[in-house]
């Protein structure tokens, strides 16, 4: 127990969700995607932590909160390599794999400044297109491809 605490460098939670192996530079995107700035549960965020496989990683622990698969799938846009651990009574009771959703609604911003979603109050909607390692977003409205994921601010 105490050994695990030392390794993680952030305090353990009794029950909740731990998102680990988030690329350090993408951590705050994940915070935005899950709208954690409006979350009233205890949230612990660690960034630029040492990781054997990633160099620098980020980690987010949310106490007493368990996400729907659909919510978790959105993380795939920013951090497809992240791992999801479900914690019950300080133990990892399950690990979930993040699956890329086929459609992304109301999360990402369209990169086309002339898109109707950037000029009228229209929720964004994209289909995901996988090209090699990259995930691109094809806008349902302007039909342009967004190469870099940018979360919509809540």
């Amino acid at each position: 127990m105490s050994e695990r605490n030392t390794q993680l460098k952030v305090s353990a939670i009794k029950d909740g969700t731990v998102l680990d192996h988030i690329p350090a530079g993408r951590l705050f995107q994940v915070v935005d995607i899950l709208d954690l700035s409006h979350c009233s549960n205890p949230v612990t965020i660690g960034v630029n932590l040492e990781s054997k496989s990633q160099g620098r990683k980020g980690i987010i622990k949310i106490a007493d909160r368990f996400f729907e698969d659909e919510e978790l799938s959105r993380i795939a846009l920013a951090a497809p390599e992240a791992t999801v651990n479900i914690i019950k009574d300080y133990q990892v009771v399950s690990k979930k794999k993040i699956e890329l959703p086929a459609e992304v609604v109301g999360i990402a911003k369209c990169s086309n400044p002339m898109c109707v979603t950037n000029n009228q109050d229209v929720p964004t909607r994209f289909t995901t297109v996988v090209e090699g390692e990259k995930v691109k977003l094809l806008c349902h409205y302007c039909e342009k491809t967004t190469e870099e994921f940018v979360p919509l601010r809540h």
Binding site: N112, M114, C115, V116, Q120, H140, Y141, C142, E143, K144
Partner: protein
């Protein structure tokens, strides 16, 4: 057939062929009172005289009444009304909405906030599907077929939405493409990938004279000033190609020159009287195709 005409990509090969065959009926019988008692809204959030007149005439030739506006200066939009509210309000009055809007995706959004059919008459630099359908109609009319046609696209192939939509629509019909463009205005990689995936052959050149004699359709486009952020760059490209009558020696007998119009300097006026010039007839065809689109989406054909 989809409820609305928003993007040419929503229409299957069968849908496209149906619109074209109804357009042929319309051309044979230019006044049909199919839509007596119906009202068509033509909402032009940005001006486009040519497209608006074509749609309005099409609606009137079918016996419908037309309401709408040709720019937003004296409307509630200039007071800040949202697109959604304008569409919801108008949709209570009419049977079908034809709209042009400067924002890309505006027509798709409009089709989602009301239950009526919506015809996209241009959404910024994105789609202009009635133009694509009239191009297809004209190719069919001049060549007697759509299959296995060689099309030489000339001009601004980078920003030109008509060439991109035509390329996608023609991909159903086993075409061969020639892309004639200056280096800076070449066909974007995504469209070339699209063709490669479907095994459709294409060649690229920056010389207008190189492939004049081995194409069935010469599709000329204007280099559009509004697409260039740098006026110096526009000056460099605006006159890059100029087709003249003297260049047409040795072209195929069936070759026809198309242009979405308006032209500026790409086609010299001495070309107009050659048997190859077809751009004015192409514009006329737009009316029959738009009659067909309105009649089909309202379920009359």
């Amino acid at each position: 057939m989809p409820k609305s005409l928003i993007s040419i990509n929503d229409f299957s090969k069968e849908d496209i062929l149906h619109i074209l065959s109804v357009a042929r009926e319309m051309e044979a019988n230019k006044t049909q009172r199919l839509l007596e008692g119906k009202v068509v809204a033509c909402l032009f959030f940005e001006p486009s005289t040519r497209t608006r007149l074509s749609f309005e005439t099409a609606a009137k030739r079918l016996g419908a009444k037309v309401i709408g506006f040709s720019d937003v200066t004296n409307t509630s939009i200039s007071k800040g009304e949202t697109l959604k509210d304008t569409i919801k309000m108008v949709s209570n009055y009419v049977d079908i909405i034809v709209m042009r809007h400067p924002l890309e995706g505006a027509a798709r959004y409009a089709s989602e906030v009301c239950d009526l059919p919506v015809v996209n008459a241009g959404d910024g630099a994105n789609q202009h599907p009635s133009q694509t359908l009239l191009d297809l109609y004209t190719i069919l009319q001049t060549q007697g077929r759509l299959d296995k046609v060689t099309i030489n696209m000339v001009g601004d192939l980078k920003y030109g939405r008509t060439v991109h939509s035509l390329l996608q629509a023609m991909s159903h019909f086993d075409p061969t493409f020639i892309f004639t463009a200056p280096d800076a205005l070449r066909m974007p990689a995504e469209y070339k990938t699209f063709l490669q995936k479907r095994g459709i052959p294409y060649t690229e050149t920056d010389s207008l004279s190189e492939h004049l004699c081995d194409c069935d359709i010469l599709y000329m486009t204007r280099v559009q000033q509004e697409r260039f952020s740098d006026p110096m760059e526009y000056e460099r490209f605006k006159d890059v190609y100029r087709l003249e009558k003297s260049m047409l020696t040795g072209v195929r007998e069936n070759m026809k020159i198309l242009h979405p119009l308006p032209r500026v300097g790409e086609i010299a006026e001495d070309v107009d009287n050659t048997p190859y010039a077809y751009y004015f007839k192409q514009a006329e065809n737009g009316m029959y195709v738009r009659m067909s689109i309105i009649a089909c989406l309202l379920g009359y054909k």
